[in-house]
Amino acid sequence: MILLDISSKLLSRISLFSIALPLICSLYPLILRRFTSYSRPFFILLLITFIFELFALYLNTKKSSNLYVYFILTYIECFGYSYIYYKNITNKKFQFLIGICYVFFLIFSAFYIIQIGSFNHFNSEMRVIESFSLIVFSMIYLYILSNEISKKPINILQTPMFWYSIGILFYFTANFFMFLFYNRLTLIIPQSWVLHSVVNILCNCIFAISFLCKAK
């Protein structure tokens, strides 16, 4: 049990700093001056996420509550991930859907915060709504991509948005039930968060690949 506790904490730390991997890889398009509508906003989003995560860690070490940091970060992340889809899809219907979903997310989270009245527990429901929206976006994007590759030759392995969508799909599908049951689960089995850490590390590796693709 102690070993599990130690490995859980270790993986949690690795997970936190694993975001540095896509950030380092994002320097590749920066050096080549090949920033696109994908790499620029994603780089900014990763940087903000990293700063927030570090701040949350700092609060944690000071034994202060850092849950409000994650509330704010959820807003930023949901906006950022949706915005990247919005900017990289030319399909007007899909863009409209993204807008509607984000507005719905904002309204829901406003009611949610009013209802709970404090930031002293994990924003499970907000993360579930965010996960659901982003799973739908990634599936739609991959569907559009599959239609495109049947019409013209596209090397999907060299398409940054492909890896981005795979990362999003993997992270939010794998963590969907974790977010849903977080408050209930971590009270009894706190080490269960290790699953999120593993998924997050893998997801960051996938995001790193997206920066190394030859963006067109």
Partner: protein, 265 residues
Amino acid sequence: MQSEISTLYIVITSAFFGLLLVIFVISFLLITQKRSFKYIENIAEMKKQYESAILKSQIEVQAQTLQHISEEIHDNIGQLLQTTRLNLININRNLSGEQAQMINETKEIVVDISAELRHLSKSISSKRLADFGLAEAINYQIMRINKSNEMSAEMVITGENKKFNPEIELVIFRMVQEVLNNAIKHSRGSEIKVHLTFTEQSLSIVIADNGTGFTNNTSDKKFSDGSGLFSLKEKAKNINCDLNFVSNSEGTSVTITKYFKNETY
């Protein structure tokens, strides 16, 4: 506690499901991509075959037409000119002085016309190519250029002279004719050098002039004039050979290279 363990199982299963979903999506897209590439490749191959068939029929029609014109020049016009020459000789027997001189000059002109038409007949016919091969057919073109005094031309052959696929041979011959005509018409030079290199795997023909060269610009008359270069490129593409142009102020060099890796010589 039991319910939390069940929940944990659900969470672990969902994570596993997420991983499976991603593997499935990647596999599906890669298979679709592979199919798409194959389909596009097939379309390109079909297009190439179609263009090749069109070119083949064009060449056949052109060869037949030129052969017909060549035979007409040789058999009909040639004979008429011969009759005209004999008539002039007969008329000249009864004439003297200035009139006889004029008839003599006219006879000489008829002889020249006859010789020119004979050369033209041989030049446009692909019979020489079929009988003696590419090197001899090109050599005949060189001789004609030298005879015309428009430019001086020479040909060098390296390697063993070979005959190969008649269709490809004819296309290459027409390409060489086109390049030589372009050099005479546009190069403003005085010399043309043709270098044929035969190897086991390839045939390379370098045609170089010492003219003023041309720029790779559509405003350049030599480029925009007619469909000469376009037609050359199309022919090269259809018989799957390399075509390279090097042009500067010291002249133009055109290299035609045909590799015979998987084709019959």
